[in-house]
Amino acid sequence: MKLIALDSSGLVASAAVLSDNELLAEYTVNYKKTHSQTLLPMLDEISNMINLDLGEVDAVAIAAGPGSFTGLRIGSATAKGLGLALGIPIIEVPTLAGLAYNLFDAKGLIVPCMDARRKQVYNGIYRFEDHKLVTVKDQRPIAAAELIDELIAMDPELTKDGLIFLGDGVPVIAEESERLTVPYSFAPAHVGRQRAGSVGALALVLYAEGRYVKAEEHAPIYLRKSQAEQERERRMAGKDSL
């Protein structure tokens, strides 16, 4: 089982190649440069480096969202192009689950946060049980203060081993997190942001469970409607209430 994994959901651009349970190559850049200019050149470089035979690749794993709409689409279109050209399926890895997989088998709750602007984060809450990633809260956009309220009100049994925050949304929740009474920490540099290696590792688990789609069927998980749709819905709702 060989797969290409991509994550361009946030500021980080990351590409990886995995073979069974081994990471063959990974290229991760956390720098403001358009993913459109970096993602494919990065994949090209690592593929050359390991003499990757594209005919042996079984699937493409993609951090499917949430994230920057444009970033997600660059990754998705790249994955779909690979899927079309190579005739292989796409494994859609929820971005926040992929982030949580950076902290495999960690004790305590894993709380990845991505900056969703307007003092909101994209967040999901996860924990590991018998070496498996378990979703405590599905990924969603949530206000920083509301997330901390939710964690404070959570069953102490779940939070007794503490919380680990990670992702580029950490600065957004940092101030609010001071209200927490359970122990918590922030993930260190090497596992603090999106990594295609983690997306790929989780994708291998999903693939084994038969959870993948045809390349043509894949579309990003935005979790938010477009501005135009939101405004239109508000206008329509306003009309109804008159």
Partner: protein, 340 residues
């Protein structure tokens, strides 16, 4: 090799997701267009984020159908071409990322194509006898350009719009007189019942450039006319107003084109872009060219609006000229003609 160059072309710069396979820059092996227009109509115009979302949902189906209709597999093609500008950045990025991944995985050359060069090249499909040098007139919802096509894939810009594109003016005027979106076809239709000489609008001249266009003033003149009529409680004849507006647009386009043809001694005029399917413009240009001994080339309406065939036609000449894009090809929303 069968001696032919077959190019798979992809276009996603605005609100059509399109793919085509074109042989030797002139023979259409397939032409697939998925139009999003119904989706945008409720918003009165193209919503960029919705356009981008629709592109990513449809793109693989559109590309696969283009290959299937051509009776080809990806491995049989010689190159992958894609529009990389100008256009809506989010929309362009979908096609660019997809095309790059396909070309990379299939180990094919990648050719980034300028959208306007595509529009001009649409003429090669039905008129293989059209060869440079000739005058190119591009009129669409986003662009109004008058250029000299000096050689294959070589352009000199004479004039462009300094404000609204011609198609944009059509949309805005259509909205003002209550015709709705898209404005071009609606104004064209109602104009047939109106008197084009009913309302006289002054011609917009652009200071310092005899070939440039300005349509924003004309649009304002229409709005002023409507306001004044409203203040005087006068009924406006929408057909007359639409016909008069359309005639003003057509007149200025014809005048500039004729002047350029005379100034540069060029006999062939090729028109392109969505507004080239406007029957008033087609008729006006036809008359002007006939009266002045010019030969007029206009693609069929299906090749005037956005499509990927035109991108495949342009890409062939770029391919022959040795143009190859890298894996870092980016979308350039404000790309100018002649820039690489």
């Amino acid at each position: 090799m069968d001696g032919h160059i077959d190019i798979l072309a992809i276009e996603s710069s605005c609100d059509e997701t399109a793919a085509a396979v074109v042989r030797d820059g002139k023979e259409v092996l397939s032409n697939v267009i998925y139009s999003q227009i119904d989706m945008h109509t409720v918003y009165g115009g193209v919503v960029p984020e919705l356009a981008s979302r629709a592109h990513i949902e449809k793109i693989n189906y559109v590309i696969q159908k283009a290959l299937d209709d051509a009776g080809m597999e990806l491995k049989d093609t010689d190159a992958i071409a894609v529009t990389y500008g100008p256009g809506l950045v989010g929309a362009l990025l979908v096609g660019v990322a997809e095309a790059k991944a396909i070309a990379w995985a299939a180990k094919k050359p990648l050719i980034g194509v300028h959208h306007i060069e595509g529009h001009i090249s649409a003429n090669y499909i039905e008129h293989p006898d059209l060869v440079p040098p000739y005058l190119g007139l591009i009129v669409s919802g986003g662009h109004t350009h008058l250029v000299i096509v000096e050689d294959w894939a070589k352009f000199r810009i004479l004039g462009r719009t300094v404000d609204d594109a011609a198609g944009e003016a059509f949309d805005k005027v259509a909205r003002a007189i209550g015709l709705g979106y898209p404005g071009g076809p609606k104004i064209d239709k109602i104009s047939k019942e109106g008197n084009p000489n009913a309302v006289r609008f002054t011609k917009a001249k652009v200071n310092g450039s005899e070939y440039d266009f300005s349509f924003s003033g004309l649009k304002s003149a229409v709005l002023n006319y409507l306001n004044q009529a409203e203040m005087k409680h006068e009924e406006v004849n929408r057909a007359d107003l639409a016909a008069s507006f359309q005639k003003s647009v057509v007149d200025v386009i014809c005048e500039h084109t004729l002047k350029a043809a005379k100034d540069y001694g060029i006999k062939n005029v090729a028109v392109a872009g969505g507004v080239a399917s406007n029957s008033g413009l087609r008729e006006g240009l036809r008359k002007m060219c006939d009266a002045n001994g010019l030969r007029l080339f206009i693609p069929s309406p299906v090749y005037c609006t956005d499509n990927a065939v035109m991108i495949g036609a342009a890409a062939f000449h770029e391919y022959e000229a040795g143009t190859r894009s890298g894996w870092d090809l980016n979308a350039v929303p404000g790309l100018r003609l002649g820039e690489k």
